[in-house]
Symmetry: C2
């Protein structure tokens, strides 16, 4: 008898994350620099407790918190989200940064899923960064999409390569199947690279240029999950052992580059995905999107079928943390915390990694991206990976972060190293073990 | 320029729920007997607050609560779920009622969505009850599935009609496209009917009989969302003004019919969907599924792409409410509350509705289902609906609860009346207004 599974189910592969977790379970002493988990000790236990007690102390707000909400999400949270992003981008465009265009989701992952579901049929094409967020590649694979990878430079996408890819799609008559360009624009997972605003605008212009041949809009899906976890300034302060005042100043400083939403004349082509989970508490899972029509209506309807709205307890807790200032204050601490952990990893890398291994400075986010000499493989079947596992240290092999793209071979000499969840001691020890392994093979 | 939307997005219609909510917003004085919202005053504000404070008072459990969890969900909650269902079904089959087969989701709606996604391609067929849960019909429509409706009798599916439908599918060679039978088995939304265990077993046997011609397994998707909201006994107690002791006894009584999981030799064909939102707090959105292979693996992978796990705060809060006994105690109160509201609606219907209108006694769940004489239409464009709206009372037109099925015309002379969210006073007044309207047209 055959299986009754759908084409989607038959395509959907075991996600790398399950394998990483199983590996960790099988090796309890393992130091994992692989997990995308966040820092434990800094989780806002007290802030969450206080926010929830505020809500659940009164029957009125208590009942509102524990009842169903609307599919789009709590209006006040949508209003704050729109206003906050407008402020961060430093412009006034209330029609673009509008609560009406905001949808609250169960983490930004759900936004990525539903957006892809709303735009892409099996066989359609998406362009992604080389490398990119591997859980998004799971969505791509599951939906039977073809991915084309575009190389990156220090400030984001290699525009010449993007144009080359678009040209080749045009030449082959494949543009009608191209639906979106997916970019992780701040402290990218996995490379840590931040895309400059100029590049976002240039990418939007390029996409527009090819729309006639495509016969339909080509969207930019901007994943800004790590936007708030910047610590450029905080890191500097940290190095100088700066006082709390200076840290607070850095919190209110601009969080880097503008989003693509700010690009004049392109708002109807930009889908923005953000999250409150990583900057506050990952156990809360509240993400959001800002979407143009007709994608907004489509995704909202799809959300109605998925779960008809994000759990109100999560939304109300977040909103309360925001309106009381607890969110912003906690974020300041979190930036300090990750800046310190990143500094720890940097120092350990400098001390323990052989000089042939390159890596970029992390100025935000949760990851370092290390490049070994081209000949030295890092995949799960490589000598390096096996030796690392034997030494009880785990990393994400770089190859996992590359889409299947027949136009190029997947690089297999890189690794993603996370300082998110591991303690400072484990970061030091983990990098030391990894350094020993690398010195054998590099 | 064409749209870039996917086939799924182009198919996905505005859900009736959005329209109902918009109508309520446009008529602020409206008494809505349409909403599927739950009772506000009985929401467990204190129980939730205490459970969360238990968790967030200690940094250890606090951090665990606010960190990511696994894709399948909290192990202890899965263990309790499996053991609890086994107890309710009164049998010992630990391999079937096993935590390994349980998946925690963002409400049972997400389980329904992912299961359908995992089994059905566009053009596939599902069999549903006539009438059925209209939000499930949204999933069916969005995925481009064909639905076949099967009539119901007082104890569930009309088995002769089910066989007739299966035969006709076989005759037309359409069985290879049939993937599942969807049943809402306890206090069905919208009719209030509970399916007898004998009928579940008989339905499973029938499905099995046609599997050879189908060439693949045909699953029974059992949606038991209202299972815990039974008040057969409680209602009796309520009518006799019984003391707390008797109420407590009724809480521990068997919650009615066994689930299809108990059917010997059919466990690999049963997908069970349940929820903790409706029996506790709808703002928490924690549902679950028990699934056989290969559906379990497929749905878990799909969940990985949707959101890689249900928010830990929701799961831990629920688990804490369960282990402290708060959940069970609250459920007892909730049964009393809904039993009282159902009794109020019954009394109002007896007093105000014309005798030509029939309805069944509610013994659980949230709904009465009223049948007008066949000639009197109740759809949104009907005179009855318009007159009801003019009288500021809203119901769900029965026609919305019927799948698109070319084999029969959709009945259009029924209405779903909910006592879930409206206050007892509003239930009385709402039914009075509706009775006046009906007397004009019946």
């Amino acid at each position: 008898m055959k299986t009754a599974l759908s084409a989607l189910a038959r395509r959907t592969a075991e996600p790398p994350i399950s394998w990483l977790m199983a590996t960790k379970l099988a090796h309890p002493k393992l130091i994992s620099l692989a997990a995308g988990f966040t820092d434990n000790p800094s989780l806002p236990v007290r802030e969450t407790r206080d926010s929830i007690n505020d809500l659940l102390r009164s029957p009125v707000t208590g009942q509102a918190t524990l009842q169903y909400g609307t599919t789009a999400g709590e209006l006040k949270l949508r209003e704050w989200t729109a206003a906050h992003l407008q402020k961060l981008d430093g412009i006034s465009a209330p029609k673009i940064y509008s609560a009406d265009r905001v949808l609250i989701t169960h983490g930004s992952q759900q936004m990525l899923y539903m957006t892809t579901e709303a735009l892409c049929d099996a066989g359609d094409i998406v362009i992604v960064e080389d490398p990119t967020y591997f859980v998004y590649l799971g969505i791509v694979q599951s939906h039977g999409l073809c991915a084309r990878g575009v190389r990156m430079t220090a400030d984001g996408l290699d525009l010449a390569h993007l144009e080359q890819v678009l040209e080749s799609l045009k030449r082959r008559g494949e543009l009608p199947r191209l639906k979106l360009l997916y970019l992780v624009t701040y402290y990218q997972n996995p490379t840590g690279i931040t895309t400059s605003y100029a590049k976002k605008v240039a990418a939007l212009k390029l996409l527009k240029k090819y729309e006639r041949a495509a016969g339909h809009p080509i969207y930019l899906l901007e994943d800004a999950a790590y936007r708030e976890l910047n610590f450029g300034n905080v890191a500097a302060v940290y190095d100088r052992r700066g006082g709390e005042q200076e840290v607070r100043r850095s919190q209110t400083a601009a969080t880097g580059e503008k989003t693509a939403l700010a690009a004049r004349g392109f708002a109807d082509r930009v889908i923005y995905a953000g999250t409150y989970s990583k900057p506050f508490a990952t156990g809360l899972r509240v993400g959001f999107g800002i979407l143009p029509e007709p994608v907004l209506t489509a995704v909202t309807r799809i959300k109605g079928n998925h779960d008809f709205g994000t759990a109100n307890l999560l939304q109300q807790t977040l909103l309360r943390a925001i309106t009381t200032g607890r969110y912003e204050k906690h974020l300041g601490k979190l930036r300090q915390c990750y800046a310190a952990k990143a500094a720890g990893m940097r120092a350990a890398l400098q001390k323990n990694f052989p000089p042939q291994v390159q890596w970029a400075e992390a100025t935000g986010g949760l990851y370092f991206w290390a490049r070994l000499p081209r000949g030295v493989k890092t995949g799960v079947k490589s000598k390096v990976f096996k030796a690392a596992l034997a030494a009880e240290v785990l990393y994400v092999p770089g190859v996992m972060c590359y889409a299947d793209d027949a136009a190029r071979r997947k690089p297999d000499h890189e690794m993603r190293l996370s300082y998110g969840n591991a303690s400072e001691a484990d970061i030091g020890e983990g990098i030391k073990r990894l350094g020993k392994v690398l010195k054998k093979f590099v």
